[in-house]
C-alpha cells in the first residue's frame, strides 16, 4: 500500500504542486501543502488515492485562502524586531502582480466560475475525466462540456485583457 503511495508520489507530486501553486500563488507554500497532502495520505490510505490527493489539496488551499483573509483583517502592519532582521517578504500575490504578462493569465483565470476553474486546473494537473468527475461531482459526460466552455472562456478573457491593455497603451 505504501509502495503504491510512493509510486503515486513520484508520478503526481509535481502536478500537485503546480495545482496548489495556482491556488495559493506561493511556491514554498504549494510545496509544503503538497507534502502535507501525502503525509495525510499515508495516514488515511485512501481507496482512490489520485483523486483523493487532489481533493485534499483543494481543501487545504481553500483553508489557506480563508486564513489569509482573516490575517489581513486582523493585522495590517507587520514590523520585524529592532535588531534589524530582514523585512518581511512582500505578499506572494504582489510578486505575481509584478509580472504583467503573468498577471493577465491570473486575472483571466479568475473570471471563470469556480467550477470551470477547478475542472480546468484538474485537467491541467493530469487527471482523467473520470477522476475529475469524482472530484467535482460532475457526470463524466459533463466534464468534456465544462472543459470546452472553460477553455473558451479563459482564452476569450485573456484576449480581452491583452487587447484592453494595448488599447490603453495607444490612447
Amino acid at each position: 500500500m505504501t509502495e503504491d503511495l510512493e509510486a503515486l508520489y513520484q508520478s503526481t507530486y509535481t502536478s500537485l504542486v503546480r495545482f496548489l501553486f495556482r491556488k495559493v500563488w506561493d511556491i514554498d507554500r504549494a510545496e509544503d501543502l503538497a507534502q502535507e497532502v501525502f503525509v495525510r495520505a499515508m495516514r488515511h490510505q485512501p481507496e482512490k488515492p489520485r483523486a483523493w490527493v487532489f481533493a485534499v489539496a483543494a481543501n487545504l488551499a481553500r483553508d489557506e485562502a480563508r486564513a489569509a483573509v482573516r490575517r489581513k483583517r486582523h493585522l495590517t502592519l507587520l514590523t520585524s524586531d529592532p535588531a534589524g532582521s530582514p523585512a518581511p517578504e512582500p505578499d506572494a500575490q504582489d510578486l505575481v502582480e509584478h509580472d504583467e504578462r503573468l498577471a493577465s493569465v491570473h486575472r483571466a483565470l479568475d473570471t471563470l466560475t469556480p467550477r470551470d476553474q477547478e475542472v480546468l486546473l484538474l485537467w491541467d494537473a493530469g487527471l482523467s475525466y473520470p477522476e475529475i468527475a469524482l472530484r467535482t461531482g460532475l457526470a463524466v459526460g459533463a466534464v468534456g462540456t465544462t472543459l470546452a466552455r472553460a477553455r473558451k472562456r479563459l482564452i476569450e478573457a485573456h484576449e480581452r485583457m491583452t487587447h484592453d491593455r494595448t488599447d490603453a497603451a495607444h490612447s
Partner: protein, 286 residues
C-alpha cells in the same frame, strides 16, 4: 448525418473516450469537413489553454525523495500522541492555577502573602523525543513551571526587568497576571492569540479596569521550546515589548511584532526570524 458535438471532440482530443467511440468519431471526421474544422479549432483552443496555464508557472519543481514524506508522517504522529497527553495535564494545571487566583481574590489576605500556585510539569514532557535529523537544537524538553503571579516575561529573559513588570499587586490591578484555561477564555469572549496546531501550555491575562486585558499565551513548539505570544492594547503591549526584548540575543531568540490600530501583538521564541514569521502566518485570534 449527425455532426459531432464540440464537447465530444474535446473529450476525443483529451483521449477520454472509449476505443469504439474514438473509432466512430474518426470515421465521421474522415468524411466531414465541417467537423474537422471544429476539431482543429478545439485542438487549437486546447493547446493555447495549456500554453497559457504553463506560463502561470511555477517552472521546474524539485521532487524531494519520498523519505521526506515518511519522516514528516512519523514526526506528526509522535506530535499528535504527545499533544493528547499534554492537553490533558495542561487543562488540570490551568484549573489549579485558576483556583489559586480565585481564592486570592476572595480571601482578604495581605498582598505579600498572596498564594502563588506553582505546579511543576509532570515527566510526561520527557517522552517527546526530537529526531536528530530535524536539524533542531538538541535541548532537553523543559515545560515551564506555572506561577500565577509571574509576569509573563520572566521566562523569556531574567536579567532585565522594568518597574512595570516588578509591580506588586498592591500597586494596582494593571500589574496583576493570572492564568486562565482556553475554554474559560473562550467562554469569557477573550480572544486568545495562538499558533494553530501547537499545544497551549498556559494562558495568562493582565486585567486592566479601563481597557481589554493583555493576553500572554505560551505554546510548545515541536523542538520542545516555548513560543510566547502577547496581545493587547498597544500602549501596554509596547511597554512589555520594550522591557522584554533584547536587540541582540546570543541565545538566538527572535521577536516579531504586529500592530493594528490600538492593538499590538508580539511573538518571541528561540527560533530563526523566518520560523517565527511562518508561525505568525498560522496565528489564530479566537
Amino acid at each position: 448525418m449527425r455532426h459531432i458535438p464540440e464537447e465530444e471532440l474535446h473529450a476525443y482530443l483529451d483521449q477520454a473516450l472509449s476505443r469504439s467511440q474514438a473509432v466512430e468519431i474518426e470515421s465521421h471526421l474522415a468524411g466531414c469537413d465541417r467537423c474537422r474544422a471544429v476539431r482543429d479549432d478545439a485542438a487549437l483552443l486546447r493547446d493555447r489553454t495549456t500554453a497559457l496555464l504553463t506560463r502561470l508557472g511555477p517552472g521546474t519543481i524539485p521532487l524531494p525523495p519520498f523519505e521526506v514524506i515518511r519522516r514528516r508522517a512519523a514526526v506528526e504522529q509522535r506530535q499528535r500522541r504527545t499533544f493528547l497527553r499534554r492537553a490533558a495535564w495542561a487543562a488540570s494545571i490551568a484549573m489549579a492555577a485558576g483556583l489559586g487566583w480565585a481564592s486570592r481574590r476572595i480571601l482578604p489576605a495581605p498582598a505579600s502573602a498572596a498564594p502563588a500556585v506553582i505546579v511543576t510539569a509532570p515527566p510526561a514532557a520527557g517522552h517527546q523525543k526530537v529526531p536528530a535529523d530535524q536539524h533542531l537544537p538538541a535541548t532537553p524538553v523543559t515545560a515551564p513551571a506555572i506561577a500565577v503571579r509571574h509576569p509573563p516575561t520572566r521566562n523569556i529573559r531574567g536579567t532585565v526587568e522594568s518597574d512595570s513588570l516588578r509591580r506588586e499587586p498592591a500597586a494596582g490591578p494593571a500589574g496583576l497576571w493570572h492564568s486562565v484555561s482556553l475554554a474559560g477564555a473562550a467562554a469569557a469572549g477573550t480572544p486568545i492569540p495562538r499558533v494553530a496546531g501547537l499545544p497551549v501550555l498556559q494562558i495568562q491575562l493582565q486585567e486592566s479596569p479601563e481597557a481589554t486585558p493583555v493576553v500572554a499565551v505560551d505554546q510548545q513548539m515541536a523542538n520542545g521550546q516555548t513560543v510566547r505570544t502577547i496581545e493587547g492594547p498597544a500602549g501596554q503591549v509596547w511597554n512589555l515589548y520594550t522591557a522584554t526584548t533584547v536587540p541582540t540575543d546570543s541565545a538566538g531568540t527572535s521577536t516579531l511584532s504586529l500592530r493594528q490600530g490600538d492593538r499590538m501583538l508580539f511573538m518571541t521564541a528561540r527560533v530563526s526570524p523566518d520560523s517565527l514569521r511562518a508561525m505568525i502566518g498560522k496565528l489564530l485570534m479566537r
